[in-house]
Amino acid sequence: MKNLPWLLIAGLVPLAGTVLIAVLPRKFEFRARWIALASSLVTLGVVIAMATQFSVGGTQKFQFVTSYKWIPAFGVNFTLGVDGVGLVLVCLAACLVPFVLLASWRDVQPGGSVKSYFGLMLVLQTVVIWVFSALDVFLFYLLFEAMLIPAYLLIGRFGGAQRSYAATKFLLYSLFGGLVMLAALIGLYVASQTLLGSGTFDFQTLSSLQINSGLQNLLFLGFFLAFAIKAPLWPLHTWLPDAAAEATPGTAVLLVALMDKVGTFGMIRYCLQLFPDASRTFAFTISILAIISIIYGALVAIGQTDIMRLISYTSVSHFGFIILGIFAFTNQSQTGSVFYMVAHGFSTAALFLVAGMMIARGKSRNIADYSGVFKVAPLLAGFVLIAGLSGLALPGLASFPGEFLVLVGSYLRYPALAIIATVAIVLSAVYILWLYQRVATGSPRGVVVGTFGEIRRREVLALSSIVALMIGLGVYPQVLTRVIEPTVKTTITRVGAVELAPTQIKDQVDKQVSKK
């Protein structure tokens, strides 16, 4: 079983769904939804079956490796495989899409093409699954860029009034990052040629090279810039609120919950492991930017008047936590970051989707147009609150272990920064609960009258599934952290950061106890 090309299949299933949808006659267009849902469920099944085969802490760093020769002249291979970090993110991609499809059932406005909307979502899923499992840097780059095409089309063709502007901005911003990364990629290839005699894009080979530190710094920055735009890190974040607000809720989820994770994933996989010296050099600066993201994102979120933009800015704040944890280089902080990536995926998905359902009923993104949703649609309001509570990292829900581990672990390396980051504990409560207070409490007013109704069974199913996952991860985070931790350990070893075990006091106590 383990020798099956699992990752190839996991990406081919949604692709097959796309092909089916593409050949669908126009009069059966609505069937596209069912095909998409079915294919995403098959994908989920494949990924779950694969995950059960993964051996935690096995001797192989990467598992389920399949490799096909591609461009031998440049040492490019189509190689897929995952470590613990890759695995949990592939799982995230497989888990989220069915719920997103379910919640997006009626997202396409009359006149829009249902076929292309659902087809593009599946293409995006394929690319994302492979981008998390690429073990060839060139392949990764190609997929990293290819991701933009379906995303661009999804935003530009199915979004709100300002969608063209938002889509263009998203595209140009990302292309810029990609271009710089391409330059760094070529540089990396050249460096491997110098060191090895023949150039390669094979990740495993490249991640054991010792590139001289001056060059490392340059290459690091090239990769990091692309990832920081994607993540997004302050001050490169301004494309996100526009894109997420103008896109349909389903697209916003894929964008923020899934695609943006490629940024932070890239930092761990590529920045840290290919350029360990440079990672240490820039760690503190990046941590400062992460802290700014945390606080700034939260403050700007509080000041938003548009629901979708508000949620986007909360993500800027949460990505700050993730990046802080990555660059604190401790076992707890980095494992917390990867866990947070998954948790943030679910909680942001829940927030965007439930906000989308509200907006579909109220026909407005403006917070001030809402009031008293609880009175009219208590279930909808309840889901707004639960999704929000996960956003403010309430213990028992998925975000908490992530945020908490990041804080505890980062404190070991940067005590002052970790303490500053705790201010977000208060700010997150303000932006979430103030949002809830404005839209859900009080008496129904504004758009919350007339036809504004309760959520349907299909929507309840999508949301309650995500909530169940959030509670499950919050109560038993070990299910992921056990998988993530071994990878994080090898990453930190590769970075060569001084291990920061808690201070000697513990050891002294141990000694005293043993003396007694």
Partner: protein, 631 residues
């Protein structure tokens, strides 16, 4: 330190204490309308079940020798990363046992009362779901075996209080009050997070056992930092200065909620935290002094605020602030205070719950009015409420031999032994308590009728009065039972330690002084509120102190001026900066490049759509070419 045995036999059922109300909350909140008909009964049943388990565990504990009583019920590992290991494990020792009995016992009475109080309310099922969640969280808080797990219960209590304070969702004032409670509590949570971070960095563990074993040999700086961080956390949950402001607004919730928050759960959590962390505070005298200062300020401020409120629930809320201030002061005194603090806390659980339920009973009969200026003479129509409220009143002001006398007197004695200034403040606090409680009792139950025309007050149904009667019995007897033969002291000593306070004044003399001051407080209230007629509207020409007290000693005004207004300004300016400066720069660069390229390349159409089409075909071409090369 006492040894903690792995749970076995009946103690391996400790988890049931929490699981029952959690199951209740999940069923009630998840089942929708299906359980409307019997939801409230299920809510009561789960707490009753927990209470039975608690009593069985207590009897079991009584049968063991005093150093063999602590057990640890391990359920599963929550997080384990390197040295950072947090188990979901429940530590049941004498301290947590005392809290468990209080929480489930008083909680059960409040649940029963709420069946009657919430009769006819559309959301009664939801309300009981929240109540169950509240009790479950508080039980987790006191049963956790580590600071990290305690944090879960801590936040759960915050969430449940948020839901309950904001229960009347359509009321415009409920939303802001609930949010305020949660946000202020989260300020305290910063302290909790920081404490945990420092503990892990310093000791490599966050379990009680591990941290308390390491604390004595840690540097003063570290334990002091942890102590102050924990104090910040405690201030949030226990509504102590400077984080007291949420408590007075928390009256937006239904009255049983107030009883639960003020008596059995929530505000006692801060006192528990510090009592539990006694090994840290024992080696951090500066942090201990911080606890005392906070306690003294709050006990006086709460008393002053309570003396000026006309809203019966707000007056009682001020009283809670003050009473918790007494407890904080006591835990700040160290080994000569922990036991007394817990004794007062337990006794307070009875009389404060009784007082709030009494207030709820009054409101029930008075069309939900709360203004005491329109009460008066209710003793003639509400005999049971008057009697039970009256006993609670006598208990809280410390009339012998009721509960408050036995438990508050020892705190004053211990405070006086530490420092005459602290002791004097405590005596003044006792006088204030006598004054404002007499004021409440006189304005509500005695004197002439000042009712509005539309009310027809009547006694509440048995389902409400029965819990009040039981609590009144507790208010009378609990103090004596706890303090007789040093019962509680011998019970808690293995966990908190105990030293006899050694003061210059003879205890009997001090008791005399205290009772004299209490008598003065009562006399002042008699003169002001019984001998003189009470105006039906609050007089506007009042002294500076009264008007300050009416406005909660300007706590809200301060928060608004120092945090809220600058905060609003900051968020607004940052939004502007983000839209204009950062995004403006991005768009400026893009526009510049766009203009440049337009001039250079006239072939370009300027439509992103055609760009992307070109890109798409280009990318496809590349992919196809690459495949061909490979083949």
């Amino acid at each position: 330190m006492e040894t903690i045995a792995a749970a076995s036999g009946i103690t391996s059922l400790t988890w049931l204490l929490i699981a029952l109300p959690v199951a209740g909350a999940l069923i009630l909140l998840g089942s929708g309308r299906r359980t409307n008909a019997f939801g409230h009964l299920l809510g009561v049943a789960t707490i009753a079940g927990s209470f039975v388990v608690a009593v069985l565990l207590w009897l079991n504990m009584l049968g063991k020798s005093s150093d063999q009583r602590a057990t640890r019920d391990f359920l599963f590992t929550w997080m384990s990363l390197g040295r950072f290991k947090v188990d979901v494990a429940l530590q049941l020792d004498q301290l947590s046992m005392a809290f468990v009995l209080l929480i489930t016992g008083v909680g059960l009475l409040i649940h029963i009362y709420a069946v009657g109080y919430m009769h006819g309310d559309d959301g009664r099922r939801r309300f009981f779901g929240y109540l169950n969640l509240f009790v479950a969280s508080m039980l987790l808080l006191v049963l956790a075996d580590s600071f990290a797990l305690l944090y879960v219960g801590w936040e759960g209590v915050g969430l449940a209080s948020y839901l309950l304070i904001g229960y009347y969702q359509t009321r415009e004032s409920a939303g802001p009050a609930a949010k305020k409670a949660f946000v202020v509590n989260r300020v305290g949570d910063i302290g909790m997070s920081v404490a945990i971070m420092v503990m892990f960095a310093a000791f490599g563990t966050v379990t009680f056992q591990g941290v308390f074993a390491a604390a004595p040999s840690a540097s003063t700086g570290i334990v002091t930092a942890i102590g102050f961080a924990l104090l910040l956390a405690a201030c949030g949950k226990s509504a102590q200065f400077p984080l007291q402001s949420w408590l007075l607004d928390a009256m937006e919730g239904p009255t049983p909620v107030s009883a639960l928050i003020h008596a059995a759960t929530m505000v006692t959590a801060g006192v528990y935290l510090i009592a539990r962390s006694n090994p840290i505070f024992e080696v951090a005298p500066n942090a201990q002094m911080g606890v005392i200062v906070v306690g003294v300020i709050t006990l006086l401020a709460g008393g002053i605020i309570a003396s000026a409120k006309d809203d019966i629930k707000k007056a009682l809320a001020g009283s809670t602030m003050s009473a918790i201030g007494f407890m904080m002061l006591a835990v700040g005194l160290g080994k000569s205070g922990y036991v007394y603090a817990i004794a007062f806390l337990l006794a307070h659980g009875f009389f404060k719950a009784g007082l709030f339920l009494g207030a709820g009973s009054v409101m029930h009969g008075m069309n939900d009015q709360v203004n005491m200026r329109r009460f008066g003479a209710l003793r003639s129509v509400m005999a049971i409420t008057t009697l039970t409220f009256g006993l609670g009143y006598l208990a809280i002001i410390g009339i012998p031999p009721l509960a408050g006398y036995f438990t508050k007197d020892v705190i004053i004695e211990s405070a006086m032994a530490r420092n005459p200034i602290i002791g004097t403040a405590a005596v003044i606090g006792a006088g204030l308590t006598a004054f404002y409680m007499s004021r409440i009792f006189f304005m509500t139950f005695i004197g002439p009728k000042r009712w509005t025309q539309d009310v027809h007050p009547h006694e509440s149904p048995v389902v409400m009065t029965a819990p009040m009667v039981i609590l009144a019995i507790g208010s009378v007897a609990s103090g004596y039972l706890l303090m007789r033969n040093q019962t509680l002291q011998r019970w808690l000593e293995p966990v908190t330690g105990f030293t006899e306070p050694d003061g210059a004044l003879r205890p009997l003399v001090l008791t005399g002084i205290t009772l004299a001051v209490v008598a003065l407080g009562i006399i002042a209230a008699v003169v002001l509120f019984l001998r003189r007629p009470i105006p039906e509207t609050a007089p506007s020409k009042v002294s500076v102190l009264v008007s300050a007290a009416r406005r909660d000693l300007y706590g809200d005004a301060f928060n608004e001026a120092v945090f809220m207004r600058p905060g609003q300004w900051l968020t607004r300016s940052l939004v502007w900066v983000d839209n204009r400066v950062i995004d403006g720069a991005v768009n400026g660069v893009a526009a510049g490049l766009g203009g440049l390229s337009a001039r250079v390349r006239r072939t370009q159409t300027g439509y992103t759509r055609s760009y992307s089409l070109v890109m798409l075909s280009g990318a496809l071409l590349v992919i196809v070419l690459l495949w061909i090369v490979r083949l």
